[in-house]
């Protein structure tokens, strides 16, 4: 904040002149970076296809309506598979994430090196997308739902463990100390001092991740890991656009329902 004295009296300004300069130079630098990056991307773009996009979109839209509603009967099983992939994957992730979270939390970790290792596991699981996990798992254990479940599980471990260890680090230590004062063993402290405090966070995290996983499991089929993505891939590659629109609507409905369910459950917990 600055007050600048002019001939007609002091004027209030948000920044001093120097701050103003720095502010605009930062904007200029950011704009330059953006323009440079855009140029590099545009060099790799065939602009004819881009200018053609409007006509393409119109063409595609005209092929997608009316949706072929009878196709929905072929979709019940893939939807069930998709929900299974998300749910079982989340369960798998939670089973792995709980011990890792306890190893990664500052106040429960046995040793700093163990903590570093646990944090590395968390980061690597989080940085690799479930689709890439699925790509690898399909190569190892073959295409199918199991690959999808494990891919979702491995991807979610990092997310769940990260949020969970943050919850563990934020607990009220005095309660743990009170349990300790009764002469409780380490395991008893864990189960009576720490676990009750993180239970609501745990439930919230699992429902939250389940909701995300529903969304992610809809596309795992693209690399062969089961679920409704298989039908999407098949319909797109056979140019059956009326089926594609049904599948997209089904995905939309599934996601909305799962979001509603998770919001209800989280509301009930918190």
């Amino acid at each position: 904040m600055a007050i600048i004295n002019t001939e007609s009296g002091p004027v209030w300004k948000r920044r001093t002149t120097k701050q103003e300069w720095i502010y605009w130079l930062c904007w200029l630098a950011a704009a330059a970076v953006f323009v440079y990056c855009f140029k590099l991307v545009s060099d790799k773009t065939i602009w004819f296809f881009v200018t053609d996009a409007g006509a393409q979109a119109q063409d595609m839209a005209s092929r997608m309506v009316p949706p072929k509603w009878s196709y929905i009967h072929d979709l019940w099983r893939p939807i069930w598979d998709t929900i299974n992939i998300a749910t079982l994957g989340t369960a798998l992730a939670l089973v792995i994430a709980v011990p890792i979270a306890f190893l990664a939390a500052k106040n429960t970790t046995p040793h700093p090196t163990v903590r570093a290792a646990a944090l590395f596991v968390i980061v690597s699981s989080r940085s690799i997308n479930s689709l890439i996990w699925a790509l690898m798992l399909v190569a190892i254990i073959g295409p199918g739902i199991l690959a999808g479940v494990i891919a979702i599980g491995l991807r979610s471990v990092g997310f769940c463990a990260k949020l969970l260890y943050e919850a563990i680090e934020e607990i009220d230590e005095t309660q743990v100390e009170a349990i300790k004062a009764t002469g409780a063993s380490g395991a008893q402290q864990l189960s009576y001092g720490i676990v009750p405090q993180i239970m609501p966070a745990f439930a919230g995290i699992s429902v939250f991740r389940w909701d995300i996983n529903i969304r992610e499991s809809t596309v795992l089929g693209l690399v062969g890991a089961g679920g409704i993505g298989l039908q999407l891939e098949a319909s797109i590659s056979t140019l059956a656009w009326t089926q594609v629109s049904v599948i997209l609507l089904v995905i939309l409905a599934t996601v909305i329902v799962s979001e509603w369910v998770s919001a209800k459950i989280r509301h009930a917990i918190i």
């Binding site: 953006f34 991307v41 393409q56 997308n129 890439i132 199991l146």
Partner: protein, 271 residues
């Protein structure tokens, strides 16, 4: 004298209070979960023979990953990484630029009802579909290459950023907004001096976070033809060059870790 005070009537065993207090709800949830797990596993259709074949295959696969080989495909890896970075930068900037008007419109305390409904609908629509599906359609419309990835990631960014921006505006302190309004500020001045300073710190943090997400997602849009490191990764998998694939994965992890540190540092700084 009644016997209510005799020690006998006090429970001698203490049990932890359960998370869900209503007994019937707790038990029916457990029961339902058990039934679901049974049916879920029943319909999993695991080909155990294929899985058991997969274990030695997996070992071979893992041994093919080590040691990671950065150098034999270094040129295409570098190309892919750089393409991903450009794509990430421009899609984050474009996405955020688009989400500012949408986010302002989707805030209940700022926008009139019709605008609010339209903007909420845009947010919901762009949030529903995963980046990969958006990328499939972007590739169909705009052709192969990073431009399609850019479009897909920008749309996904709008869904994420506009929603959080709108929520943050709805949570802002109305007293400050009132104070600016009472000085006779116009709508734009009001947004610029009352709303923007309140939401800015959190929004900068979220912008960096979204940059991080977009980089991670840029590895995936490549799988469906959207350019970037994902395309390089898919090629490496298709050619069974698992050592190059391992190198790419490690580079992705390293960059994401770096971005995460940077975003944590920046968020601490602005808040």
């Amino acid at each position: 004298m009644s016997d209510a005070v005799t020690p006998k009537n006090y429970p001698s065993i203490w049990k932890k209070p359960p998370l869900i207090k209503r007994g019937w709800l707790r038990w029916s949830l457990w029961f339902g979960a058990a039934i679901y797990l049974a049916i879920g596993f029943g319909t999993l259709e695991v080909d155990w023979q294929r899985v058991s074949e997969g274990i030695p295959r997996g070992q071979r696969f893992l041994s093919a990953f080590f040691p990671p080989d950065i150098f034999s495909r270094w040129d295409s890896i570098l190309d892919g990484i750089l393409e991903s970075i450009w794509m990430t930068v421009i899609s984050t900037v474009a996405g955020i630029a688009l989400s500012v008007p949408v986010g302002l419109g989707a805030a209940k305390n700022l926008a009139p009802k019709p605008v609010y409904m339209v903007c909420r609908f845009i947010v919901a629509l762009s949030r529903t579909f995963p980046e990969v599906i958006l990328a499939i359609f972007a590739v169909k419309l705009f052709g192969f290459g990073p431009f399609a990835g850019f479009i897909a990631l920008s749309i996904a960014t709008v869904g994420f950023y506009a929603k959080l921006l709108a929520e943050d505006i709805e949570d802002m302190d109305p007293v400050q907004a009132e104070a600016i309004r009472s000085t006779g500020a116009s709508w734009f001045q009001w947004v610029n001096y009352a709303v923007q300073p309140q939401v800015m710190p959190r929004m900068i943090g979220l912008a960096v976070y979204r940059l991080d997400i977009n980089f991670r997602e840029s590895a995936v849009v490549g799988i469906v033809g959207g350019g970037g490191i994902g395309a390089t990764l898919l090629t490496a998998f298709d050619r069974y060059e698992f050592d190059s694939a391992a190198a790419i994965l490690l580079i992705i992890i390293a960059i994401v870790m770096g971005l995460e540190y940077a975003s944590g540092y920046l968020r601490q700084k602005v808040q």
